[in-house]
């Protein structure tokens, strides 16, 4: 029978891990990977189909965190790592994806897109991209905090309604209702600002 190695220990807090990064302790990355590895891999896998690509994103995110903290001093290490994983995964997705690339986050985005479908225009224009960014961030700034969190977790992190409800201490029905409200408000904001994609 294979030999089991029992690993015991008290889970490290986010603050403790952040301290380790700021003090440049050599075990900081390993400890952070142990605590946050699962959620980081899940985030990467929602964006990328290939397991090897997801693993590369995972490693690169932790390397980037090590290289940027300090001077960066995020309030939540977990959130910072997840944002890095997401950004790197999106970059990799953009270099690899075709129009038909089917990943969990892409399927979820298509769900959002069906609400926002408006006449298309040139996307290569930096001005249009900048305008969209302004409208999106302005919309997000007006959203109640929980609605904003639900919305971004769903459409920018690709999490399921069940996961969002658990994380935000909501029932699944309330989480769905929050998402529905946010989608309607985003559509209204885009139409009002005449920002077409």
């Amino acid at each position: 029978m294979p030999t089991a190695t029992l690993k015991r220990g008290v889970p490290m807090t986010d603050d403790k891990l952040m301290e380790m990064f700021l003090r440049r302790e050599s075990t900081a990355v390993a400890c952070a990977q142990k605590e946050y590895g699962k959620c980081c891999m899940q985030t990467a896998r929602r964006i990328l189909r290939d397991e090897e690509d997801a693993r590369q994103c995972f490693n690169e995110a932790f390397l980037r965190a090590w290289q940027t903290i300090p001077p960066e001093n995020p309030t939540s290490l977990r959130a910072y790592l997840l944002r890095l994983v997401r950004e790197i995964a999106i970059e990799k997705y953009m270099t690899k994806a075709s129009d038909t690339a089917d990943t969990p986050i892409r399927r979820i985005f298509d769900e959002l897109e069906s609400t926002l479908l408006v006449p298309e225009t040139e996307l290569d224009s930096d001005l249009v991209i900048e305008e969209l960014s302004e409208v999106l961030n302005s919309f997000l700034s007006m959203e109640p905090v929980k609605d904003r969190i639900c919305f971004l977790r769903r459409y920018w992190y690709g999490e399921s309604v069940k996961e969002i409800a658990a994380a935000c201490d909501l029932t699944e029905e309330k989480a769905r209702a929050a998402l529905s409200r946010s989608k309607k408000r985003l559509r209204a904001a885009l139409v009002r600002e005449e920002t077409y994609i």
């Binding site: 029978m1 190695t5 892409r106 959002l112 904003r148 992190y157 935000c168």
Partner: protein, 307 residues
């Protein structure tokens, strides 16, 4: 064009909002109750522990660890053990001296007894248990018993050492088994079945469909697995399923180390594989609650199955 739309949206949100979305969400409701709850539970457990503790009727003689080793008993001190004391309890019968290690982990008191003997025997004189489960693992024989759901003990017979061990505590079954996993791991005969690099290893034993099922939960490479194994009472042509899970979207017949196995899973979701291990005469199941793939289930099943 569709890809561009996706790309543009994904890049457009401010980093501060993306980080906020993954930061802990404050929950105002029940904050006071949540603050009090663990303290109240600890207090209640402490009171229960004190109330059910009874002074040993046996005469006990305190000895040092070295004296215990010289008597032929090499106790393993579990991780986190405090207030450690060695002693010899009153002999069960003429000449049979029971060695004893008492210690605390967190706030709970444990007693580990050992007796040099060829045959399994009882080392504690306790009231009748509510239930008792017995199983064998190689040459080791185990029994787990529970009384009133808060007195639990695990006994095992180590044939190479010719020693009978018994671990007792007035704690939850999970806590006792967690400690037993640590002790047996250090003794060189793991209680739980998990790969070498697995973490968060948890062992449980219970009865299901008339079988004594041993369950090991573990995480490897961020994937969670639940492995169950039970001795077959009789040979059956029908593959019993001890996983406790239903079927999923995809179903395949596969082979695990020469044995027929049944694999069912939702790609990227839940999945399980069940098989009969002919070498050990055991029914086995392996379940993944998340991120299941056929490849992961088969590889892990092959790793765990006795060849």
């Amino acid at each position: 064009m569709k890809a561009n739309r996706f790309h543009v949206y994904m890049r457009s949100v401010d980093a501060s909002y993306l980080e906020e979305a993954q930061s802990p969400v404050p929950n105002r409701k029940g904050r006071v109750i949540k603050w009090l709850m663990p303290k109240a539970v600890c207090f209640i457990l402490l009171v229960i522990g004190l109330l059910i503790w009874k002074p040993w009727e046996d005469m006990q003689y305190a000895v040092t660890g070295e004296e215990m080793a010289a008597a032929g008993y090499a106790f393993v001190e579990p991780e986190g053990a405090r207030n450690i004391s060695y002693s010899f309890a009153e002999p069960l019968d003429e000449g049979a001296q029971v060695a004893q290690l008492e210690f605390t982990v967190s706030t709970s008191a444990y007693t580990l007894r050992a007796l040099q003997t060829d045959a399994p025997c009882d080392l504690f004189d306790f009231p009748d248990a509510d239930y008792e489960l017995t199983w064998a693992d190689g040459e080791y024989s185990f029994s787990f018993a529970s009384a009133d759901s808060h007195e639990n003990w695990l006994c095992w017979n180590a044939p190479e050492e010719k020693v009978q061990y018994a671990l007792y505590a007035a704690v939850d079954k999970a806590d006792l088994l967690d400690l037993a996993v640590d002790i047996l791991d250090k003794q060189g005969h793991p209680l739980a079945a998990a790969p070498l690099d697995a973490v968060n290893v948890k062992f449980d034993v219970f009865e299901d469909m008339g079988l004594t099922v041993r369950q090991t939960e573990f995480i490897l490479d961020f994937d969670q697995f639940v492995y169950r194994i039970a001795d077959m009472l009789t040979f059956s042509a029908i593959l019993e399923d001890i996983s406790g899970q239903g079927d999923f979207a995809s179903i395949e017949n596969v082979v695990i180390n020469g044995a027929d196995a049944r694999l069912t899973y939702d790609e990227g979701g839940e999945g399980k594989i069940t098989w009969i291990d002919a070498a050990s005469g055991c029914i086995c199941s392996l379940y993944m609650p998340d991120d299941a793939t056929a490849q992961k289930l088969q590889l892990m099943a092959e790793t765990l199955s006795v060849e």
